[in-house]
Amino acid sequence: MEKNVALIALFAALIAALGLIPKLTLGFGVPITAQTLGVMLCGTVLGSKRGTLSVLLFLLLVAIGLPLLSGGRGGLGVFATPSAGFLLGWPFAALVTGLIVEKWRGGSLAVVAGVASVIGGIVVMYAFGVAGMSVALDKSLVEAAVLVTAFIPGDLIKAVIAGMLTAALFKARPASVLSRYAA
């Protein structure tokens, strides 16, 4: 019980801390915002249940007024912007990502976690994000989708990175990748 609370809290803190450290790059100087990568890792490392709770806890803290989103953003205002759909999609992203890593046992973990991150962290997240944007901007779903296509390549790279990180973590500390153990 204490272990679960600690893990859920620490990964929520990890997502927050990712917004506070200097921005990371992809290696050719291209900057990436690492917080959504943190959401993917919640799913791939902690699994569906703990991962989702961790992301929900993070969003709760943002909602009650803490500036935890990158750039010091926070408060109820961020849930009233056109991109609020993406935020609401984060817990579902972690849920789906976690479920896939838990259920799909064959093959390399890097591939499984990478595919899980694409399906959860991109397909599911963008579904919510595009829907939210379409309502807020009074545009059709297709129009809203066009607005966000520019971000997909970057997020695809993040999903690949999430896969590699999860596999590397499993190699270093197998017991810590809970998505591969008991529920």
Binding site: A168, K171, A172, R173
Partner: protein, 246 residues
């Protein structure tokens, strides 16, 4: 292309000040350091770690300058990699890669060496320390002391003229400390050792005693260390731990 780390090194600090969030950490330090083995002692909170990072060029000063052989390392990061290496306290907050090979090769690749050459130099460094069998080891299987050694090797491989040590022996047991001290003593280049424990500086030439962001005393190691120990013992008899910084 290996430089000789035994080349002499001149550290020049001129009216060096550092403040963050309105708090003044270093107050106008002016000093030249050219001894082979220099120590910096002071209480926790005296500004020692900050001074280490300023000398390494990791952080730019608020005002004043810190230079090594005339180079401002906070501006010239490429020169910084050639001139100085810095060993931090905690290997878990310092080791980036999962294998010893990757960790030691990293700095060499960043210096511009191609992969094959970096690998060669990594193996040479491991051999120098008698740890050739560590080449394919995973960092997570190593003990704390072994991790400290990996951090040291990763720096030594880059043959900097100066290695700054920021309280690197914190929490180590007696044998590990002795082994690491021996490994450091063999280094051809200069050492700048930050510590609050004077016992770490046995055999050092020059010591700077830092107090509340300023130089309290500086000179030959034995004299300064004795004065420092006396002062610290005196403070130990008081209750200044009760004071809360405003």
């Amino acid at each position: 292309m290996t430089r000789n780390p035994a080349d002499p090194v001149q550290i020049a600090l001129t009216d060096l000040c550092f403040a963050v969030d309105g708090k003044q950490i270093l107050r106008g330090i002016t000093h030249d350091i050219s001894a082979k083995r220099t120590g910096i002692v002071g209480r926790n909170g005296s500004g020692k770690s900050t001074l280490a990072r300023l000398i390494a060029g990791l952080v730019p000063p608020t005002t004043g300058t810190a230079s090594i052989d005339g180079h401002d390392l906070s501006q010239d990061r490429k020169q910084a990699l050639i001139d100085v290496g810095i060993l931090f306290q905690n290997p878990d907050q310092q080791i980036i890669f999962p294998t010893v090979r990757e960790e030691i090769s990293f700095g060499l690749r960043q210096l511009g060496h191609p992969k094959a050459r970096a690998d060669e130099m990594t193996q040479a460094t491991l051999e120098e320390f008698g740890k050739s069998h560590w080449i394919d080891a995973h960092v997570h299987s190593l003990s704390q002391g072994q991790k400290h050694l990996v951090c040291l090797m990763a720096i030594v491989a880059m043959t900097p003229k100066l290695i700054i040590l920021d309280e690197p022996f914190t929490g180590l047991d007696i044998p590990t400390k002795a082994q690491l001290t021996r490994a450091l003593a063999q280094y051809h280049g200069n050492l700048l050792h930050i510590t609050h424990d004077p016992a770490d500086l046995a055999g050092y030439d020059h010591v700077i005693w830092l107090e509340a962001g300023q130089v309290a005393q500086t000179g030959d190691a034995p004299a300064v260390l004795n004065a420092y120990v006396d002062a610290m013992t005196a403070i130990g008899g008081t209750d200044d731990i009760a004071d809360i910084a405003s």
